[in-house]
């Protein structure tokens, strides 16, 4: 297999995966944000 031909595609797929990862992470953080205030309770 000629690696040089597939590399740009692989890089683009990798970049897309990184973007999807951040989208998923931020979506989760936003939807579950109501849990965060509980931390302050631990220090009161």
């Amino acid at each position: 297999m000629d690696g040089s031909r597939t590399r740009p595609g692989r890089r683009a797929a990798g970049a897309a995966a990184a973007v999807l990862f951040w989208v998923g992470l931020l979506a989760y953080a936003w939807l579950q944000r109501s849990l965060l205030p509980g931390i302050a309770e631990l220090f009161r």
Binding site: R10, G14, A15, A16, A17, G24, G38, L42
Partner: protein, 641 residues
Amino acid sequence: MIAALLFGGLLLSGTVMFRNLLGRRTCEAAFLGSLLACCEGVLIVLAFGAAGRLAPGLVALATFCLFILHGLVALFHQKEELPMLGGGLQRWAFPPVFWPAAAIFFAVLAFRLFIAWKTPPDAWDGLSYHLPIVFRWIRQGDLSLGGWPTFHRTIAHNGEYLAAWLSLLDGGRMEAAKLSQAAALPLMFTSAAVLGRRHGGAVWSLPCGLAACAAPLALIQAGIPYVDLFYGASFLAAAAAAVLFDRTGLAVHLAAFAAAFGLALGAKSTAYLQAPLLLLPFWTLCLRRDLRLKAALWLIPLTLLSLALGGSTYIENWRAHGNPVYPFEFKVGGWTVFLGPMSPSELLTEVERWFVSSPAGWLWYPFRESFRGRLVYGSEHGFGPVFAACYAVLPAAAWAALRSRNRSALWLAAMIPMTLAAFFLFQPTREPRYIMFLPGLVLPLAALALRRAQGWARSAARLGWSAGIILSCVLFLGWFGGEKDYRDAWKLLRSRGRIEPAEFYKARFDTLGQAWAFLDKRLERGDTVAVNYAELILPWAGLPPRAEVHVVGHRATLLPDALYGELPEEWMNLLDSLRVRYLGLWEPRWYPGLDEVERDFIRRQPDRFRLLGLWETGGMGKTAVYEVLPKPGSLPALPRD
């Protein structure tokens, strides 16, 4: 503490032994060492239990002998050319971007285990059967569960064996048993790390291990006496061993697969979830002609190994009832394979609605993990942000696996739909905890896609992974601080350095906790307590547990030899024959009238019972404690031993 030292010693000596013996990567040696420690614990309890010699001294001695044996094998197989043990932690293998995540994870884990250690055993199923079963085994010195009132007596018990082993290493106390699932964390960590190493490369190995253990559900379960974490870790260990065997073709990796498969099979009676694990070793053997003859020779010993580690309850059920999954019937396409008095559909199947309004809701559930409409974590759910992010990456990861033409990656990508299909088709009660292995499968597959990122995308992926682990730990702490009972316990620990079990249980189980605290002051060692309901039975034995507890009902159940009396005289004679000194009656708020028959029996025999306490106001319902008085004219019952 002694249990932690002995377990840690066994873990370390096993790791060094495998590293010297096989000369392979540290991560793989740590994986095999973790697996071996769990297997040895289970086998020790099975062996001493079968001989009726479950005693702290003997079990500790056997564990120490194994530690010495590991050390001797390691000593006689030293290889000079091996790199130092810490070689796997070099900067290229674990980039600095992950260091804050690792530090925060270990700090939060230490906090979680500290709280669990300082508070009494917690969580519903743990107090209802996981720990009561362990307590009974240790009290009687063998593994019999005759007369146990629920079906939990005949299902897989490896989680309880592990808890019993750690408890016996700690002198038979329940403190080590309640933390037994923490002993499965090294196995989960190293299994996910091995899978991450194979699919994401060296850089993604430890981050995969960290992220799998940093899931809020894993952090919660590490401190409660359930078995889901242990099952998930064993499942992942089988997956990791299958992947290693696919790469190396070594007998030891196939043996590790058989052992981990047995360990998981013996932890939960859900073979349908595990069946897809078998595909990779079979696929490997189909393509590797050089291994087929060897595998044929290994087949019988490895099957026996698997059965020894996970088949004891199935074999016993088959021998006693002709049905390995007794008391459940087993049907395939309308055809009854095994007869049993219970149908799996009799289990609490509506629990799925606690999480999602319809099965389709599971598709987006990873991003919004709610329970009964509230955004919280709990002992049943909480896969966390890294899983959600990797779930979003899943299509790209599946595509990467398809293009990789790598057997192991293809199998891992196929494992996710196969196990989920089994979960939705066969699992009667659908809760995320039953598939705790899922993050450990999804994370390494996402790493396969993320490893292709270059430049800014590579930095973003690593930074995101690290941020995800930190967010998981932070959200876990946020949930913890939002739970009143845990928050109050933490405040007491900060101010006084300790919390009494009675205080904790009163706050957590209100009327029931008050009854337990009241009874605890009267209980003497050797006393016998009877209760009318088979849930939350451990604290009836005292705080800490020291009395014998029987569940005595008023009608027959589907299980043989359950303790019950349908008529007042029968019921009373049963209490007398068991030498019951105290009777606890609980009418849960959600089962009104549950104690009505027993109350009627008591009313008919007023000279045999004295009401000691009644607690009626609270969310747990009504609870009463009675003293059982001796028969008029007879001598009072003395506590046994």
